[in-house]
Each structure stands twice: as structure tokens, then as C-alpha cells.
């Protein structure tokens, strides 16, 4: 604060006043814009606030430091430390307080003149003012003055041959006898009173930090350090102190004063000010010379260091309150995170440090964020259906309905998913057929030349050979059809995968037609019948559809149109059908006429009708396209599916790398990692599952389940996964070993580490027969006893409530032999007491402390997840 560099001080009690001090003291009042718009001379500090100059005091030259009297009355009393070590009491503005008048102009003079570096009022006994002075060979550097003391020419003082200038001796305004003198032959650069005790003073001395205790001035506690400037106590944590040296800030814990708890990263330029935020815990602001940024260190989430090694984490960031260099700053005493900064040319800025926003997005869709002391919750407006349509909601519902877990009737998973998405239907039916035909192929040892069914139709038709061409008549029509159909084993398999024909050598679509009729898919059934050159059956299906309940009578009309089919090239029927078919809304009806009116061998009207299900198009292609056309068409279709992320394409790509590519674009489009995970797990072991993308989906799905607290579902998924992909099974990580011989007593049963840290459960008794094992298999010594029933470990729980229920729980693994969870042995990692899980759980329902007498361990509370409740039912 030497002349050019202003400093700033907030009034301790008037939240709207502050003082700027450089060569003089100026008192400002800060107001919001609304109140002071009319006033002239108001300085704009920010968009909302202005400052008005209230008073100037230029009575005290050579100012080195200023401290504001901490008590309410007299309100505007300031102590000014001067370059010659004198401390002068002065005030700003008028004060009618008589006490204030008495104090005004009072001077406190050290024996030997030297610069006064710092001042600090005692927060409790506000008559005490501590001053830190530069070094003098024979004098003290820390003087504590009592501002209420009078000048008294005591004997001791005269002994020192006081030669005061004539002006000083009047009115008793000069005090030369301090209350306490500390730090002889040393320099004091910074001071602060410790809130722990009124008589404790922390001083940054030359080369050390010292704590002086005024109750015993011959004692001091000190630590050698360079960081001796700007000592300041954290107002929220009274044992935490910051000090600095050059560009380095040291944080001290007074309870462990030997070395700094931590040192903040060094700044390239020397620091000028370090201040704790009074309105927010653990926020430290630092300013370096010639800088326009204030660096903030947030120690908000710092846990109290327990060991020597624990380094607290700190979030560091910078704020730039204004364009110019900052001379000094001061936190507002009560307004949260607010500060006023002043530049060397005395322009001021009112600034609020914006709080970091922490945002939490719930796995169930709601969003919440915290800013400062406010917590905001965001609710989505609009109809509930948008939430319903959201993939997260769907996945959640599907997880609860055990979607993906049906490994036998794989197609049922489509129903578990809600049964309303054609893509999923196609996917699960495809997977179902693939599974079925793979099993078929495995039973037939000879057909090893066929590619794996799971690699998709694309690969199946590539290997196609021995294709037989055939011309067939229309069923139910006498006329010779001019249609060439192709047939081979591979094409047959493809048709099977498309679901058109059942397994077996027969190429018979009748069962498929019947099933379509059951599902009232009249048009599709008609189309399939027609593609099998059975025009009569097609008409029959359409009639059935028209006559069925709520049937569309138009189907009869279509049937009539169909019955008029003629292969005459130039007939009116053909002409009208080929043009009018485009107006038909139903894609199946549309393609029927497209097929009938098309030239032989070119079926683009059917093949590129995108509204038609992929499996139908592919089946159609398998029947009517030649060996040269078919792979090209399939290739084209597959890449289109891949691009669109259409799950129907899985039929073509199978669960190959292509399939993963397709699934990738599906996941990119929908975010449905659930379907992706389950689908890919069905793939032949090892191949696709090892793909990093697949692993990523699986991990994400597991995390999602965890986030929903669907822990049981997660466990089920893991079990499901380890069955399909044995390599994913985690190795046993923890073993229970015998106290006596040290051998593992759970060698036969894989240990299952529990989620939490404090508590672990292990199935030590793998089966009912083994559950009678109460001694170590290695050395035959007894196993530990349950702390509650005092039975040896391994003994089944005799009376546990709801045994029947827990049987059902176990049922999920379809392994009745697995030990009941209640029989598992569990213990606290902290106090090492434990017992049967069932006993422990019921004990801790009513107790917080360990069941072992005289053990005060709060075992259950050590388990961070112990109090969480899963949100899914088992």
C-alpha cells in the first residue's frame, strides 16, 4: 500500500461500506443501481451496483497498513501503521461518539523507529491492537498496544530518555508503553489473532511462523519456514491457516504445525494477497502482482487428513473480475462469494465469483443442480408419453420384465420388450431361428460345408452352390407361369431363417401362412402365398380377411382384382394394375401387383419396396433371384441396413463383425445398450463378444443397472453373461483361509465379493452336504463361531425367518444346491467380528454397534452401500 498501490477493506459491520487506502483513506458506500440512479458522482461497479464516495481522510502520511476496528462502536475507527512504526488511530466521516473522539489521533510509538508491516485488532478484547514491525537489533517486533491506555510518564519510560518533540507531549495522545512486547531482535511481517483463544497470536516472523501465547510470553511455538507473509486464519476452520512467500502458498494445520499440510502450486509472479472467503468454507483467493486474474483454490471437499500421506484434493480455477491489473481485492463479509477489486488507478469492480455448478442427472430422467446454496430441480414439462417413449424408461421397464433372459424361447424376448417394435420382433425371431438351426446343424454331422448360421444370410448365400432352376405353374391356375425359381440348400436355410418355412427338407409355407392368418396379417399372408405362386390361396386369404371380424371389405375387391390376373403382356388388366398399384397404401398389396405385373427376372418393385419387412424381401430374393443377382442384392440391402441401424438387418449380417457395425449404428441412433448387450451375448462364444464395442455396451448396461439400483438384475445379467460368455466370469478375488493352518477353506466354492468395503459375505458352505463342515478341511480345527448364535461357522442357521422365501431367491440360479444366503458367513473388515449373514442382518436392523460385547465398532455404518436399498425386486 505504498502510495501507488491501493488496498481495500470491508467494514466489519456495515455490509455496504468499504475503504480504499493508498496515500489517503476513502470511504465508499456501495448501493444497488435502482437506489442511486439519480445521484451524481456515483461510480459504477458492476451492472447492478454503484459506489458513492462518503469521506476522505488524508491526515496520516506514510501509511503502511490499515486495520478496521472490529466492534460496532465506534464504527469507523481505523488504525493506521506508518513507515516509522507509529500507529495512529483515525476515523472516517463524522462520529459523535465520545469514546471515538477520545481515541482519535492517538498515537502508539515504538521505542525504535522502523516500518510497521501489519496490524491486527484482537477480535475479543477490541482494546488490543497488535502491530508487527521491522527488525531492530535491540527492540521487539511484535507490540501489543492497549488503545485505552493513557500516556503516563512512568519511571521506566524516563529511564529510556524519552525526548519527544514538543507537539507530541500535549493532550496525552502518545503512548509509548506497549502492553506486551514480543519477538526481540526479529522482524514481523504479518499477524493474526487466533480464534482459538483470545491470547494467542500467530505471527509471520523473519524466517519462521510463531504462535505467541500472551499468558506466557516467554514461550512460543514456532516453525521455520519461508512462507511468513500474509498469515490468515480460515474463518470456517480455526485450525487452518494460510501464509505465503513469493509465489507459493502454504496451508497449515495448527494442530500439526511442523510442516505445511499442503503447498499450493507456485505462481510465476510473487503473490500480493491471500484471503479466505468468509461466506463459503474452504475457498481461498490469491492474487499475484501485475495480474488481472484472481486464482481460487477450493478445498471444499477436502476430508480432514488422517495420515501423513493423505494429500487433500483441491479444485483450482481462476476468475477475471476486470480487464486491468488488480491491485487488491476484498471479500464481502456476508454476501456470498462477492468481492470488490481495485486496480492501481483506483477503479473498482464489484464481482461475484460464480459458484461451480454440480449437476446430477438421475438415471430415471430427472435433473438437478446445485449452485451456491441453492438446489435446483428440473422437471420436464409436456405429456408423459415422451417420457414413456424414452429409451431409458423402456430399458428400465424391460429390465424389470426380465427382457433378454429367455434363452430357450428366444423370440419371447420380443414380447418381454413390450411387443410393439417390429425391429425387435425381427431381431428376436431371427435370433430364435438362428439358435434353432444351429442346433439342427450340430445334430447333423455331415453338413460341415454349411457356414455357421449365426454369420447371417449374407454369408450363407455367398457360399451357395448347386442351385437348381425350376419353372413352376401357378397353383390353381392352368397357365404355365413364366417365372424362374431357384432352389438350393443354402437358399432353403435362408428361407428358414426368414421364417417362411419350418425346419425340415419340405418347402412348405402353409404353416407360416396359417400363423400369419392367426395374427390377422391378411395382406402379408396373401403376398407370401402369391410369391409361392399360389394365387388361389392368396385370394382365399384375402376373402378370409374380408370376412373376419372387423375385416376390411376392400380385401375382397383386391381379391377380385387378383383373380383377374392374366399374363397377357398387353392386357388392360396389366396396364391398370401396374399404374394403380402405386396408390395402394398397403405395401403387401402393392408388391403383390408389382410382382404380377413385373417382367420375369426383374422384381425391383418388390425388392426395393422399403415398407416391406426385410425378411420378406430377402425370402423373396432367395426364391426369385439368380446366383449372380442374389449376393449383390443382399450385399446392397445389408449395407443399407447397417447405415440405418435397422435391427432387421441382423438377419443378413448375423452376429458377425458386420452385425456389430449394424448394432453400433443402432445404438448410436437409439442408445439401447440393453438390446445390444443381450443380442451380442447370443453370438457364438468369443468372436463378437470380444469386440471392444460389445464390451462397452455390456459394461454400460451393467452400470445402468447399478445406477438404477437394480442390483439383483445386474447380478442376473452377470450370471446370464457368464453362461453365454464363460470368459467374462471373474476369478475369485478373496479367499477365506483358516486361522490355524492358513489354507483356504473355500477352495471348492468361488468367493463372491460383496459390493461394499466394510462387509463381505462368502459362501463357505457350498452345498447342504458341505454345510455340515464346521472345521477346516486342512487341519480339522473348528471354524470361528457366529457372534450371535455361537455356533461354529458352517452350521446352518436354525431359525431364520422366511426360509421358504429365501429358497425362492436362490431359485433364480436354478441351482437348489447353492447355500442359502442366510447361511453365508460374514464379518466386519474393521473389527473382524462376524457370523451368519441372516443373524447379522437382523442384528443390525435394531443395533448400530457390533454384537460382540465390548466391541464398539459400528460395523454396518462402515459399509457405504449397507444402507442403500435396491430398487428392484428379486
Amino acid at each position: 500500500m505504498s502510495g501507488s498501490k491501493p488496498d481495500i477493506l470491508w467494514s466489519p459491520h456495515h455490509v455496504d461500506r468499504y475503504v480504499i487506502c493508498d496515500s489517503e483513506l476513502s470511504l465508499y458506500r456501495i448501493e444497488s443501481v435502482g437506489n442511486s440512479e439519480a445521484k451524481a458522482g456515483a461510480l459504477r461497479l458492476s451492472e447492478e451496483t454503484t459506489a458513492t464516495l462518503l469521506a476522505i481522510n488524508s491526515d496520516t502520511p506514510y501509511m503502511k497498513c490499515v486495520a478496521w476496528y472490529p466492534k460496532h462502536e465506534p464504527e469507523c475507527l481505523l488504525a493506521v501503521g506508518q513507515a516509522n512504526g507509529r500507529i495512529v488511530l483515525t476515523s472516517l466521516g463524522q462520529s459523535h461518539n465520545s469514546k471515538c473522539k477520545d481515541l482519535m489521533g492517538k498515537e502508539f510509538v515504538p521505542k525504535h523507529a522502523r516500518q510497521c508491516n501489519t496490524l491486527a485488532w484482537n477480535p475479543v478484547d477490541s482494546n488490543w491492537l497488535a502491530a508487527g514491525l521491522d527488525k531492530h537489533r535491540a527492540d521487539f517486533s511484535v507490540l501489543i498496544w492497549d488503545i485505552s491506555s493513557k500516556f503516563t510518564p512512568e519511571a521506566s519510560v524516563t529511564m529510556e530518555k524519552i525526548r519527544l518533540s514538543a507537539g507530541d507531549t500535549d493532550a496525552g495522545l502518545v503512548v509509548t508503553k506497549p502492553l506486551y512486547e514480543l519477538g526481540q531482535n526479529d522482524a514481523c511481517l504479518s499477524l493474526c489473532w487466533l480464534p482459538r483463544d483470545q491470547k494467542l497470536l500467530l505471527a509471520g516472523m523473519h524466517r519462521n511462523l510463531a504462535i505467541f501465547d500472551l499468558r506466557n510470553t516467554s514461550q512460543k511455538m514456532f516453525v521455520n519456514t519461508k512462507a511468513i507473509q500474509g498469515v490468515t486464519v480460515d474463518p470456517h476452520f480455526h485450525d487452518r491457516v494460510a501464509s505465503f512467500f513469493e509465489g507459493q502458498v502454504a496451508i497449515w494445520d495448527l494442530r500439526k504445525f511442523e510442516k505445511p499440510v499442503l503447498t499450493l502450486t507456485e505462481q510465476p509472479k510473487p503473490l500480493t494477497k491471500v484471503a479466505w472467503c468468509p461466506t463459503r468454507t474452504g475457498l481461498l483467493a490469491t492474487l499475484t502482482r501485475d495480474s488481472n486474474i484472481i486464482r481460487l483454490y477450493d478445498m471444499q471437499h477436502t476430508p480432514t487428513p488422517i495420515g501423513d500421506e493423505t494429500e487433500p484434493t483441491i479444485i483450482e480455477r481462476s476468475v477475471q473480475p476486470c480487464e486491468n491489473h488488480i491491485a487488491s481485492f476484498a471479500w464481502h463479509p456476508s454476501s456470498q462469494n462477492r468481492m470488490v477489486v481495485v486496480t492501481p488507478n483506483r477503479s473498482m469492480t464489484d464481482f461475484t465469483v460464480f459458484e461451480r455448478i454440480s449437476l446430477a442427472w438421475s438415471s430415471t430422467g430427472s435433473i438437478m443442480w446445485a449452485c451456491g446454496r441453492h438446489l435446483y430441480e428440473c422437471t420436464e414439462e409436456g405429456d408423459a408419453s415422451s417420457v414413456e417413449r424414452d429409451i431409458a424408461t423402456k430399458m428400465r421397464q424391460r429390465a424389470q420384465s426380465r427382457y433378454g433372459h429367455d434363452t430357450e424361447q428366444v423370440w419371447r424376448n420380443y414380447l418381454l420388450a413390450g411387443g410393439d417394435e417390429p425391429q425387435l420382433k425381427s431381431l428376436w425371431y431371427t435370433l430364435y431361428f438362428m439358435k434353432q438351426y444351429t442346433e439342427d446343424l450340430e445334430q447333423k454331422p455331415v453338413v460341415n460345408k454349411l457356414p455357421l448360421v449365426y454369420s447371417g444370410i449374407k454369408n450363407i448365400v455367398k457360399s451357395s452352390s448347386g442351385t437348381v432352376e425350376s419353372r413352376r405353374c401357378w397353383n390353381g391356375s392352368d397357365r404355365q407361369a413364366d417365372v424362374i425359381r431357384y432352389h438350393s440348400d443354402e437358399r432353403c436355410l435362408a428361407l428358414q431363417l426368414c421364417g417362411w418355412i419350418k425346419r425340415g427338407p419340405e418347402i412348405d409355407v402353409e404353416p407360416f401362412l396359417q400363423s400369419l392368418e392367426v395374427e390377422r396379417e391378411w395382406e402379408r399372408a396373401a403376398a407370401v402365398a402369391l410369391f409361392n405362386l399360389d394365387i388361389r390361396r392368396a385370394i382365399q386369404v384375402l376373402n378370409k380377411g374380408a370376412s373376419a371380424e372387423k375385416g376390411d371389405l376392400n380385401l375382397n375387391v383386391v381379391a377380385m382384382a387378383l383373380s383377374g390376373y392374366t399374363d397377357e403382356k398387353n392386357s388392360l388388366w396389366r396396364e391398370m394394375c401396374s399404374s394403380l398399384r402405386l396408390q395402394l397404401n398397403n405395401p403387401h398389396l402393392c408388391v403383390m401387383f408389382a410382382f404380377l405385373t413385373s417382367e420375369p427376372g426383374s422384381y425391383d418393385g418388390v425388392l426395393y419396396e422399403s415398407r416391406l419387412a426385410v425378411q420378406d424381401r430377402v425370402a423373396f430374393a432367395c426364391i426369385f433371384l439368380s446366383d449372380s443377382q442374389l449376393p449383390r442384392y443382399i450385399e446392397k440391402l445389408a449395407s443399407k441396413m447397417k447405415e440405418a441401424g435397422n435391427l432387421e438387418g441382423i438377419l443378413l449380417t448375423g452376429l458377425t463383425k458386420d452385425g456389430v457395425d449394424l448394432m453400433e449404428s443402432y445404438v448410436d441412433r437409439t442408445g439401447d445398450v440393453q438390446t445390444a448387450s443381450f443380442c451380442m451375448l447370443k453370438g457364438s462364444p468369443g468372436e463378437v463378444v470380444k469386440d471392444s464395442r460389445v464390451q462397452c455396451w455390456i459394461e454400460n448396461y451393467r452400470n445402468l443397472l447399478d445406477a438404477w439400483r437394480f442390483w439383483h438384475k445386474r447380478a442376473e445379467f452377470d450370471i446370464h453373461r457368464s453362461k453365454l460368455d464363460p470368459s467374462s466370469k471373474p476369478l475369485a478375488q478373496v479367499f477365506v483361509s483358516c486361522n490355524f493352518c492358513g489354507k483356504s477353506i473355500s477352495y471348492s466354492c468361488s468367493a463372491m465379493p460383496h459390493q461394499g468395503r466394510g462387509f463381505s459375505q462368502y459362501g463357505v458352505s457350498g452345498s447342504p452336504t458341505k454345510s455340515k463342515v464346521t472345521s477346516c478341511p486342512g487341519c480339522r480345527k473348528p471354524l470361528p463361531r457366529c457372534a450371535l448364535c455361537l455356533m461354529n461357522m458352517g452350521t446352518p442357521v436354525s431359525s431364520c425367518p422366511g426360509t421358504g422365501k429365501s429358497d425362492e431367491k436362490v431359485d433364480l440360479s436354478k441351482d437348489k444346491k447353492l447355500a442359502q444366503f442366510n447361511n453365508w458367513f460374514t464379518w466386519c473388515h474393521n473389527c473382524r467380528h462376524g457370523g451368519h449373514t441372516g443373524h447379522m442382518l437382523s442384528w443390525f436392523r435394531d443395533h448400530t454397534e457390533c454384537p460382540v460385547s465390548a466391541c464398539t465398532c459400528k460395523c454396518m455404518q462402515l459399509d457405504t452401500t449397507g444402507n442403500l436399498v435396491p430398487s428392484d425386486s428379486v
Binding site: 502510495g3 506514510y62 521505542k111 537489533r137 529510556e160 510470553t217 519461508k226
Partner: protein, 333 residues
């Protein structure tokens, strides 16, 4: 009590009066532009015989061109050691002896007993005892019993271990040390003062005038007829702290409120030790003086220069000091 061993390596040099013109450039830089040099320790003391300069190696290398006036310069290398005695700091401060008196028993006498030659420098802020670099292990050994020895490394104090070296002298019995050298006491009175380093530029011209052009000014300003008058001025800038020793007349040339005047406004008389240059090898000189002063409980500053030693004692004590020292002198012979 703590004793800090500082990290500067110092040189003590003497510049003849007539040779000062060759060095003014470097000296001004060292004295007034500390930010331009890396020098942390600089003192300049003018006596009637010569200028004594103590400067650390940085300053010596960088700024003093000794080649030019080599004839005028004698250089001796010393290592320094600062005494920073941290005592109980009780409330009985008013009568506490200060300066060299306080450390006479604990530091000066033991060093003299072990035949270690010391070079004393008192400033406004503190006392420095300079010892030869080669003597340092012995100094540490000698003082380790009384003090916590702290070595300053990069500004941070760390504990220094005594190396357990002796120079072969057995500790002699404590005997009365006679004052060997002749004493004189000039008539003018001195003040020891300091100033805010920030205000140094504003008085730089006055200081330069006093430092380098004293011979011209002296004729008019000082009573030249007074034979007992001595020309003595000392300026030091050590780790940012300024310390000045000047006589009353010189002090009047400074503007008011620039110099730190102590509340008691005390003035000091000088006792000059040595009839001919003392050299650097003789030990016990400081001890001879300081022990007598300590016995009489008289505070003192002690400033060694290249040729002679100077003790400053309170003006009212000068007669008793002279008396005590003369008695001692007699007793010794």
C-alpha cells in the same frame, strides 16, 4: 538461544580516500539500485583513513571494478555469521543491554578464548559477527553448546550440525582480558538510524554527497578547529534493510521524517580502538572492549573497519566507559 549462520560469503575491502572516484559507479549501484544487482549484503564505512567496503560475492564480482584502482584496494575474505539471538524476550526490556554487550559473554568471549579472530558489524537492525571461512567449523563447535545453530539455506533456516573440529587450543581459563590497544574518543556524537527503503531514492543525492564528497563539505559544515572531531559515516544495505551511522551534523542534512528516530532520540559517543591498523589476525580485541562494557552493563554498537575498530556507547556513559577501559588497560600492563 538461536544463532543463524547466514549464507553470504563476504569480502572486506579497503579503498583509499583518493581512490574512491574509481569506484563510485559500482558503489552507487550497490547502494541505491539493489534490484539491479544480486547483491544482498553491502556496507560502506567512511573513516578518516579509508573507505571500508563489505560486500558479498555477487556484488564483488558483478559491480566493483577493482582492476582500475587495484593499488588502492586491499581485500580480505571473510565468511559471515549473523547472530540472531532469540532469548526469552521477557518484559524486563527497559534495562536490557543491547548490541555487542548482550552477546559479549555468550559469543565474543568464547570465540576469543578459542583464538578465533572476529570482525564485528552492528547495524540498526542487528549484529553481525564475521569470521573467516576456514574458522567456521570451529566456531560452530565452540558455540554449539550455548546456541541452537541454524544455517540459512535459500532463505530457509535449517539445523546445522557441529562438525566437532577444534583448532588444537585447549579452552583457556577465563582470565581478565587486558585492553591492549590505545583508545581515543572523538568529540562529535553519532546516531544510529535507518529509513524506509522505499524512501531511499528521495535521499539518494544527499547520501551520495555525504559518502563521496565529504572532504569538500566538511570544511564549511564542521568545526575544523576541533581536533577531536572525527569523520565517520556508515551505510549498509543488508537484505533490504538500510542502516545508517552518522554524526549529529550530518543528520541535520536529511529532511524531517525520513530517518527513523527512536522515541528516546538517543545519541552515541565513539570509542576508537587502535593506534595503528589492527589487521585481521589478532583475536580478542572485541572481547577486551565488550567484556568491560558488559561488566558495567552499558549498551554498545561495535563497528569494525579495515583498519580500526569503533565502539559506540551512550553519550552519558562515555566517561565511565573510558574510565573502565583505562583501568583495564592499566591492569593488563
Amino acid at each position: 538461544m538461536e544463532l543463524h549462520i547466514l549464507e553470504h560469503s563476504l569480502k572486506v575491502a579497503s579503498i583509499a580516500k583518493e581512490g574512491i572516484q574509481f569506484f563510485t559507479h559500482g558503489l552507487i549501484k550497490l547502494a541505491f539500485l539493489p534490484s539491479k544487482t544480486r547483491c544482498k549484503f553491502f556496507t560502506l564505512t567512511e573513516t578518516p583513513e579509508d573507505y571500508t567496503i563489505i560486500v558479498d560475492e555477487e556484488g564483488f564480482k558483478g559491480k566493483l571494478c577493482f582492476e582500475k584502482g587495484a593499488a588502492c584496494v586491499r581485500v580480505s575474505v571473510w565468511l559471515r555469521q549473523q547472530l540472531n539471538v532469540v532469548s526469552g524476550g521477557g518484559s524486563s526490556s527497559s534495562s536490557q543491554p543491547i548490541g555487542v554487550t548482550k552477546i559479549a559473554k555468550s559469543v565474543i568471549a568464547p570465540l576469543a578464548d578459542h583464538n578465533i579472530s572476529v570482525f564485528m558489524l552492528s547495524t540498526y537492525q542487528t549484529d553481525f559477527i564475521l569470521v573467516r571461512e576456514r574458522d567456521l567449523p570451529l566456531v560452530m563447535h565452540t558455540l554449539s553448546s550455548e546456541f541452537t545453530l541454524l544455517r540459512v539455506v535459500n532463505g530457509e533456516a535449517v539445523a546445522a550440525n557441529s562438525l566437532g573440529v577444534t583448532n588444537g587450543f585447549v579452552k583457556p581459563k577465563l582470565v581478565q582480558r587486558p585492553v591492549i590497544h590505545p583508545l581515543s574518543s572523538p568529540s562529535n556524537m553519532f546516531c544510529v538510524t535507518s529509513l524506509d527503503p522505499v524512501t531511499l531514492p528521495s535521499v539518494a543525492t544527499i547520501l551520495m554527497d555525504i559518502m563521496f564528497y565529504s572532504s569538500g563539505v566538511k570544511e564549511s559544515a564542521a568545526p575544523s578547529d576541533d581536533l577531536e572531531y572525527i569523520r565517520f559515516f556508515s551505510f549498509s544495505l543488508i537484505e533490504g534493510y538500510v542502516s545508517l551511522v552518522m554524526d549529529e551534523e550530518t543528520q541535520k542534512r536529511f529532511p524531517l521524517n525520513v530517518l527513523f528516530t527512536s522515541a528516546s532520540g538517543e545519541l552515541w559517543k565513539m570509542v576508537r580502538i587502535g593506534g595503528q591498523p589492527l589487521g585481521f589476525d589478532e583475536c580478542g580485541i572485541v572481547a577486551q572492549i565488550s567484556e568491560s562494557l558488559a561488566a558495567a552493563d552499558i549498551p554498545a554498537y561495535y563497528i569494525s573497519t579495515f583498519k580500526f575498530d569503533h565502539a559506540l556507547v551512550p553519550e552519558e556513559n562515555i566517561q565511565s566507559v573510558i574510565g573502565a577501559l583505562r583501568t583495564n588497560e592499566g591492569g593488563g600492563q
